[in-house]
């Protein structure tokens, strides 16, 4: 990426803390000792953060976008096939083209491949649960996967995470980096989940995907749409 062009476009808008979870969210117990306690210090946006890594197709393997195929050993993965697609946009609605997304998730039974996951539910030998893709010129991405299952965790008595897919995005700079989770409409676990509820009220719904009959492929897979909005840019360079 041409850093001179970035310089001419002005600062990135700030992180909108009315949208993002505060570091300390006591109902999610792990935040208690892992939340910075001192106020963040404002920093002007120099080149070291206005720039950022740019990934191309050489960062991808051919099946990275298809989690129903990229973990196969001896057959098809078990579970409900689904397509998840959407657009990556900035706050002014402009597409974020050619940016990398990474996703990871549990299998249909709510079990992760991760070797620490000891949940008593089966691993699927044909499902790995991680993928990558690049957005196209219109900011659109598309994955094929298996709908993840809910799973228990130790945060509190009878705690269950709602089904979710982890998303990681880069955008045009080191400042636009975002890691989030996508949820499913109507999940009865959402109102009970301290991670989802760590997000300010009124912003949480942005993490819930939409079922789409238009994305759904007949006799093949259900479709969900999930758009993601990254930090945008001020229209004019800010100096001084």
């Amino acid at each position: 990426m041409d850093t001179a062009v970035q310089e001419a476009e002005g600062d990135f808008t700030p992180r909108d803390w009315a949208q993002h979870p505060p570091y300390l969210s006591p109902l999610y117990k792990s935040t208690v000792l892992r939340s910075p306690s001192k106020p963040l210090i404002p920093m002007k946006q120099g080149l070291s953060v206005r720039t950022g890594p740019v990934f191309g197709h050489d960062s991808l393997d051919p099946l990275d976008h298809d989690l129903t195929k990229n973990g196969r050993v001896n057959g098809e993965p078990i579970g409900e096939r689904m397509i998840v697609t959407g657009r990556v946009l900035d706050e002014s609605g402009r597409p974020v083209p050619h940016t990398l997304l990474e996703i990871w998730q549990a299998n249909a039974c709510g079990r992760y491949v991760h070797r620490w996951d000891q949940h008593d539910a089966p691993l699927d030998p044909n499902f790995f649960g991680a993928g990558r893709c690049l957005t196209d010129a219109e900011g659109r991405y598309r994955f094929t996967t298996i709908k993840p299952g809910a799973y228990p965790w130790g945060n509190h008595h009878n705690a269950w995470r709602p089904a979710h897919i982890h998303f990681s995005l880069f955008g045009p700079s080191f400042l636009t980096r975002l890691v989030t989770q996508m949820y499913f409409p109507g999940d009865p676990l959402l109102p009970l989940d301290p991670i989802y509820n760590g997000v300010p009220e009124g912003a949480r719904e942005l993490l819930v995907s939409r079922f789409s009959i238009d994305v759904t492929e007949p006799v093949w897979a259900l479709g969900y749409e999930f758009d993601i909005v990254l930090r945008g840019r001020h229209a004019t360079p800010m100096e001084g």
Binding site: H20, Y28, V49, V54, Q181, P200
Partner: protein, 185 residues
């Protein structure tokens, strides 16, 4: 800018990101790794290492540190060559093998941008790493100057010459005594 859309909220990486982010142990190709340097790369070859601690001083083993830096000439290479990612091990330890960057912003000391993700962090945290041997440049650096004097040393990696090469120590304390300075930018 006319703001018509709201930023998508952040969520934690959770505990189970390693097979996606640092998947070598799972036989997969990583997007990025913690060895940014190649043998013939210009500049001083260095290791940056440290431990990430929680508010009780316990090491955090499910944490990822990402860095973004200029080359020795102070320029950001095209692509992702200046990007590194390292998950902490069971002792909370991370490291990067890289080159010492040149200054990329006029008036700023050489530095590396750092992002920290972890289970228990619903939003990631930004900081930046300066170098202990850049005394004069650090004294003139406007970002370091904006930080209370008694917290500045949390941003300065300490240089040591070891038999294996130059090592800069940069511990990250998420909370509590010696809490690392994190930025909003």
């Amino acid at each position: 800018m006319s703001q018509t859309l709201k930023q998508t909220p952040s969520q934690t990486v959770g505990p189970y990101f390693a097979y996606a982010w640092t998947p070598e142990l799972y036989g997969r190709r990583p997007l990025a790794a913690n060895r940014l340097v190649t043998r013939d790369m210009a500049g001083e070859h260095i290791r940056i290492e440290g431990v990430v601690y929680d508010g009780q001083g316990a090491p955090i083993r499910d944490c990822v540190v990402e860095i973004w830096q200029a080359g020795a000439d102070g320029r950001h290479a095209p692509g992702a060559a200046g990007f590194g990612r390292c998950g902490t091990d069971d002792a909370g330890h991370y490291f990067f093998d890289t080159v010492k960057p040149g200054a990329c912003d006029p008036g700023h000391a050489p530095h590396i941008a750092v992002t920290v993700f972890a289970r228990g962090m619903l939003s990631h945290a930004f900081t930046r790493l300066h170098f202990s041997d850049e005394t004069a440049a650090n004294e003139a650096d406007p970002v370091l100057a904006s930080v209370p004097a008694d917290r500045r040393d949390t941003l300065i990696a300490t240089r040591a010459e070891t038999p294996g090469g130059v090592v800069y120590r940069f511990d990250i304390r998420i909370q509590g005594d010696g809490e690392t300075v994190f930025f909003d930018c």
